[in-house]
Structure formats: C-alpha cells, structure tokens
C-alpha cells in the first residue's frame, strides 16, 4: 500500500462496515416518515408519528424524565469528578490507588451485577427503589468518565503555566482558579456531556433502581419493544440520533471526541 492510497478492496470493506453500522438506524429514521403502522411497504410519507409522539403515550414524558435525571447526574458528576481529578493528578500512594480501583470497578463491572448489588444494599437499608437511588446509581457509573477525561487533560497541562502565575504574584488558589480551571474547562464540559449520555442511555441501573411505575426513557422503550413495532419510537429514535450526532460534534469540538473516548470507555 503506497502512501495516501488505499486498495479498492479495503475501501469497499470500509463502506460496507459503515453500511452495517448505520443500516438499522437509517431504516428506523426512514420508517418514522412512513405511514404504515406495521413498518410495511409501500412507503407513504407522513409526519403523523411525530404528532403521535408528542401528543399520545408516555414516550415524551419518559424522555423529559430522563433528561431531568441526566442533567442532574451530569452536573453533579462534573463537579465531583473535577474535584477528584484535581486530587488524583497531585497525589500518589495507597489512597490514590484505592480510588483508581474504585473508578475502574465502577466502569468495568457489568451493570447487571452492579445494579443487583446496589438494589440489595438499598433494600437492606430501607431505601429501596427511589429517585434518589437512580440518581446515586447513575452518578456512580458516570463519575469515572468525567474523572478520566478531566485528569487526562490536567496531566497534559504544562505545570509551568501555574508556576508562571505564581511567580507573577498569584496565590496558589488564584493560580489554580484563574489558570488551571479555564484551561481544563473544555475537558470538564466534555466529561459532563459524556456523563449525560452515559446516564441518559443507562437502562440496566435504572431498571434495578427505578421505583415501580416510574418510566425513564430506556425503561419505556424496554416495555414497548417487547410489544413489537411502534412507529412513534421511530420518530423518537430519529430525534435522539440527531441530538446524539449534535452532542458528538460538540464533544469533538471540545477535544473530548473519539481519541479521548478510547482511553475512557468501558
């Protein structure tokens, strides 16, 4: 393979892989504009399902609930995660190792096992399934994403910048707030966005910790998908894919895109 040239076979394979990756999403998006309630042909264009989505059923309310929970979790984990990242880049030793271990456990232990474990403990102390349980559970599994993104950025920052501020007369706290934090802000925003998406999409933790009858979006889709084809899910999926695309673009712009994701995802 010469520099800058790709064999036609490899190029064709890449196109095929992208087709596989996007075929299901493209079909769902296309079907959201098809009038047939069973997803059958011929294709008759309509916006009816978008109207159904916002006027009937629980999908819209479930989405709002998920957004509320995810915003709360994203803001909290951005705050907690940034503080922890600041501490982690400045400390070594057993405490730092233990915290790293906890973060890795939170990010790698399958959500099924974590969800069951959280539910058993919350039941035993009398809290059980509750909004607070969802919030804390989702916060625990979202936190590592913020920490890893922000800590990585903090490690890249040149310590000389803070030292320069110090030598110009800034107190340590001033140097930190006026030099380090603004430089890390894009990473903090990126981490918060990651936390939002991790929480918004997390079915398993919500499944085990949501009070009975409370339907977040993943729980609502879970209930509906077992019934079969639902055209208003198609409409919702179209909106969600569009929003995800937008958020991913923002992540890339913040410098927390694919490269950062590689190092942080479970």
């Amino acid at each position: 393979m010469r520099e800058g040239r790709m064999s036609p076979l490899l190029r064709a394979y890449l196109v095929l892989a992208f087709c596989f990756l996007f075929a299901p999403l493209v079909i769902v998006i296309a079907m959201s504009f098809n009038a047939s309630p069973y997803g059958t042909f011929p294709f008759v264009p309509t916006l009816h399902w978008y109207h159904v989505l916002f006027s009937q059923g629980n999908l819209f309310h479930a989405t709002l609930l998920s957004v509320e929970i995810s915003v709360a979790v994203a803001v909290s984990s951005a705050l907690l995660g940034t503080l922890l990242a600041i501490w982690l880049v400045r400390h070594r030793g057993p405490a730092a190792l233990a915290l790293n271990g906890l973060l890795i456990a939170a990010i790698t232990v399958p959500w099924l096992i974590l969800g069951v474990a959280m539910l058993l403990v919350l039941d035993a102390v009398g809290v059980g399934r509750s909004y607070m349980s969802i919030y804390l559970g989702c916060l625990a599994v979202s936190l590592p994403f913020v920490v890893l993104v922000v800590a990585a950025r903090m490690r890249e920052l040149d310590p000389a910048l803070e030292e320069a501020a110090r030598s110009l007369g800034a107190k340590p706290v001033q140097a930190f707030w006026r030099v380090t934090v603004p430089l890390a802000a894009p990473a903090i925003a990126g981490g918060a966005l990651m936390a939002f998406m991790v929480c918004f999409n997390n079915f398993t933790i919500q499944y085990f910790l949501a009070p009975f009858g409370v339907q977040t979006l993943p729980l609502e889709i879970y209930t509906l998908v077992r019934v079969g084809y639902k055209p208003d899910i198609n409409a919702l999926a179209t909106i969600i894919v569009a929003v995800t695309l937008l958020l991913v673009a923002v992540l890339q712009w913040l410098g927390s895109g694919s490269q950062r994701l590689l190092r942080t995802s479970r």
Binding site: P24, F41, L102, V109, L120, P218, V225, T244, L262
Partner: protein, 299 residues
Amino acid sequence: MAPDRTVTRLTARVGVHSLMLPSLALLTVMVLIPLGALAYFSLLEDVNRHGSFTGSNYSHLTTTGLYRHLYVKSVLTALLVTALTALVAWPAGWALSRVRSARKPLLLTLVIVPYLTSYLLLIYAVFVLFAANGPLMTLLDTLHVASAQSSIIYTPTATILMFVYENLPIMLLVLYAASERIDDDLIAAARSLGAGRLAIFSRVILPLSIPSLLAGTTLVFIPVAGAFVEPQILGGANGLLVGNVINDQVTLVNNQPFGAALSLVLLAVIVLVVGALNLLGRLPRGAERVRARLAEAGD
C-alpha cells in the same frame, strides 16, 4: 515546630483531601459496599433473616446442570462475539487509519454515534430491520433469497448479531487507534527486507496490535458476558444467558440471596477469563520483540 503551624498544616492537608471526599463517599456507598455485600447476601438463607448463614446457594448453583450450562454458554457466546467483532472491526479500523482525506474526522464522529445511542434504541432498530415482513426480509423476498415471513429474530443468532452490532464501534475505534500507530514506513521497511504480505501481518501488524486487541477484548467481553436485555428481547426461548437467570431471580422470583450468588460467580468467571486472555496475549511479548528488532535494524 510551633503547635499552631502544625494545626495550619493539618487543616491545609485536610482541605486538599476534601476534594476527593465526596467521590470517595459516593463510590464507597454505591460500588464498594454493594459489591462486598453481594458476598454477604449470597450466604443468607433468606434476605430478611440476617445472620442465618448457609452455603446452600452455592451448592445449588454448582450442582444444578442448568446453571453450569448457562455460565459456559455465556462465556462461549461472549468469546465468540468478541472474536467476530474484532474480525469485522479490524479491517475497517485499518482502512479508517489509512484514510487521508478531509472526511476522516467526520467518519470518526459517525462511528461514535451508535456507541453513544441508547442500546435499547439499537436493539429496537435491529429488531425493526430484521423483523418478519420488515425492510430486510421484504428485500430478500423480492430477490427470492428468503421468505418475507421468516426472520432470524428470536434465535440465538439474532442475539449474537446484536452483540456484534452494538460493540462494533468501540472495537473499531480501538483497532483504528492501533493501526494509526503503525507507520507506513514500518511496513515499507519490512517489505524491503523481503517480508511477504503474510509475514508483514504476522510479524509486524499483529504483534504491534496485540495490546489494543486485548483492550478491545476486555471492553467487549465483559459487557456481553453480563448482558441480559439482548437475549431477552431477541434471543427467543433458546437464547437465554446467565444474565437472564440473575435478572429473573432478583426481579421475578425474589430469591435475592441466590441472585447474589449467581452474580458473584459470574463476576469471578469474568475476572478469570479476562485474566487468562490477558496472560495469553502477553505470552509472546511480540510487540516488544518487534520493536527491539526494528530498533536494531534502525541502527
């Protein structure tokens, strides 16, 4: 040292450490204690009778053929899915790393989109695509390949396809990053030293990609081994995995201690398999050897 200075230093130290205290508290309450408590609950006879310990959950688990069968099935399924995902993702990741056009950032952005889309929506999307009388089967029917009424939905194959589909983006990105680090000059050097295509792959590309392959394997194997929604929705009667039994014990049967025992054994199995895979990958120490050889050649 004057006592007041000691106090100042102490408060300064506590002040700094207070940065990590909220996270430490959260992770302790929501991760450490729950995981530890799994062991405690798994030894209880009844979830409401604290203190009456028994090993019967574990003996029931190990002596019942069904559970052993499900553990083996889950591990084999996860291994198969990991291998298939790597196989599909590797050439694509390699190709993506060799894209030189301005479209590359857009392509990378696109790969992440399904990864950050709710996997319940992905399951639904695959369900719609493959459903009987759905778009794909209708197309295959018009091409006279298969009947529109038939479908792979509700079979173990559908579950495996779903797992490969949802894990493809992350494996692709990991192997893309690995391929990106393998310089074209390296391959040119190997070729000029007389290496054929096979030798270039087995003695340069493969050894240099092993660390990333292992990382990707861990990222895919663990969630698949602990999955329960995909088999429940797409797998049909024969597609159930150990995750489904855990879910049933906790949410349907309400046998929490047995659910805890099943979960803990699953966690142990996952740790063992991932540990074994990592050992296996490190055995040849191939990457270092190649680097050493190339360093020698470069001198």
